[in-house]
Symmetry: C2
């Protein structure tokens, strides 16, 4: 049994360049050890605590059933493992829910980049009829009806005249989300620990750069930094790339943005099946193979797919411990939950 | 301003019997400081940890959307603040979700006491078509598809031949739920701290016993220990006591059990609106007044209702900190979520 093992090790050592870390650092960046700063939203412990409460509170939805965590579940990779999410009235959303983990490092938010940051993003699902079906006015009335929430907003936004606002709701959630950073073996490797990644993972990293995957999936978030057509070389099947969802075209109305999406950030990708904006592919190997044909114009060999998946597994990180919040109690003036679908 | 304050204090002192604690201890029991023992289910740290994961895992439902915590949300008093819960396919359940907090102290589970303990209870929602719409076989297949879960079951149920079973799933959840004990100011008072309850709360406690409320709502859980007709003296309105739900009659088929329910345990009642099995009453004062007319045959004065509510507020306790779990990742063999309603 010793011979094949030694042979495999020898092969691995051969195919890993000596300057792998250096090369990788030209393309990727390790996660920071501190909460990243956020534009126009100074992060404070009070804001993080408020944001955590709001993130887990189902009463931000009209029905009192759907919270941010319903679709961006911190227990299951920061997403919901569904093709597309189920929201208000059991309606299905149009696209796969992206993970909230490390989302702070994305250049913009949503698959089409239509929100410039997480505070803009946080306002979307609250108002989407298929998600939370709420209104900013109703949300603020709900929050203001609970004195404990008012106190928390006062602590998080001192010195502001009007503290319990839809803007501040979104800023608090962004502050909490900025803490959802998950250092992984890949970061330990980038930071200098040779033993943090297996030799298979290192071969996969080498291949990931050699094949050109990293030209779209680079940076701190191994993706999430730019826009690219899905199907650069060859269009995927219509079930994976449905004809009617033209991606970023809906945002820019520029012909060249048809079927363009923000490159998926790949941290924790092993936890966030199913894949692509349509959520049609559950198997990570299959997703990698599809990327080969559609983006590289190349039928990847099974061994190559295995190595790439090994590398992707090194991106599975560790979430900071989150104490489940105890939320403010409702009062007589808290608006009642509305569970029916409006217009039905 | 000092005069009315002094007068109020004097009145309060007058109406609180000197032996209040002694009298109360003949009827109530303070929560224990350690996790209660459970019949046929020795509690271990491994079982608690597994049970916590299962409690928060939406993949125990057919859809992958509904977890135990969806309706028994630890963030909002161990229930969902809804009239009746919303489950699979956005269907509405038949009765208000009771709190899971301190549920371990109830004589039986469910409003009609049809489950003899929490491990029997835990099997109900999993299989109910309007809740999780799953089957034991599908659930066990889901759990067995994730090696990390198998490892956790092995650690929680060592020495058993078949460890990942529906029975053990239920036992692990019961073990976690046994830890959801919430000591309150009322317990501190029972344990000897005179300052733990306000004088208004002590007057309320006095009244609660004098009026006879404690004859149904006594013991460790201030209720949850016996069965009583809703409407002993006078039937409530049909919206509060819907004619077709005959309560415990459905369990025993005994004529005398028509409209009989297990007396609601009142710990954390201030957090668990709306009230009664029908969930039709959101206001705690109104709920207390209804109890007066239906159970005592007495129109309680507003001051009396206020004092009783003050006492009930002293039952709001503190949940032990729960770290939000990180759940095992799905694998290629994990059954796919089924979001549609069967037969539709």
């Amino acid at each position: 049994m010793a011979v094949p093992l030694l042979a495999a090790t020898a092969f691995a050592a051969d195919s890993i360049p000596a300057d792998l870390r250096e090369t990788a650092l030209a393309t990727f960046k390790a996660l920071p050890s501190t909460t990243p700063a956020v534009a126009n939203n100074p992060i404070t412990p009070e804001k993080i605590a408020l944001g955590k409460a709001l993130f887990f509170d189902p009463r931000v939805s009209a029905s009192g059933v759907v919270s941010c965590n319903s679709c961006h579940n911190l227990a299951t990779g920061g997403d919901d493992n569904l093709e597309t999410s189920i929201g208000h009235g059991w309606q299905k959303g149009p696209r796969n829910a992206p993970t909230v983990l490390n989302a702070i490092f994305n250049i913009t938010q949503f698959w089409d980049g239509r929100a410039e940051d997480l505070k803009a993003q946080a306002k979307g699902p609250v108002q989407a009829g298929v998600e939370m079906a709420n209104t900013p006015g109703q949300l603020v009335a709900t929050l203001k009806s609970m004195p404990q929430y008012v106190g928390w907003f006062n602590a998080a936004f001192p010195g502001e005249a009007d503290r319990v606002t839809f803007d501040n709701f979104a800023k608090a959630i962004e502050a909490f989300e900025a803490t959802l950073v998950t250092p992984a073996p890949f970061d330990a490797f980038l930071n200098g620990d040779d033993a943090a990644m297996t030799s298979e993972q290192k071969q996969g990293l080498t291949l990931f750069m050699d094949k050109g995957c990293s030209s779209c999936h680079g940076g701190t978030n191994v993706g999430g930094e730019g826009y690219h057509p899905f199907g650069v070389v060859k269009k995927p099947n219509a079930d994976i790339l449905p004809e009617k969802d033209k991606g970023r075209f809906a945002v820019t109305h520029a012909a060249e943005d048809s079927y363009v999406f923000r490159a998926a950030p790949l941290r924790n990708v092993a936890l966030t099946a199913p894949y692509f904006h349509s959520g049609k592919v559950r198997n990570l190997k299959q997703a990698v193979a599809i990327m080969g044909t559609t983006q590289l114009g190349e039928e990847l060999k099974e061994e190559e797919v295995d190595l790439l998946v090994a590398f992707l597994n090194s991106l599975t990180g560790k979430l900071p411990e989150v104490a489940y919040p105890v939320l403010p109690a409702e009062t007589a003036t808290t608006p009642r939950p509305v569970s029916q679908i409006l217009g039905k």
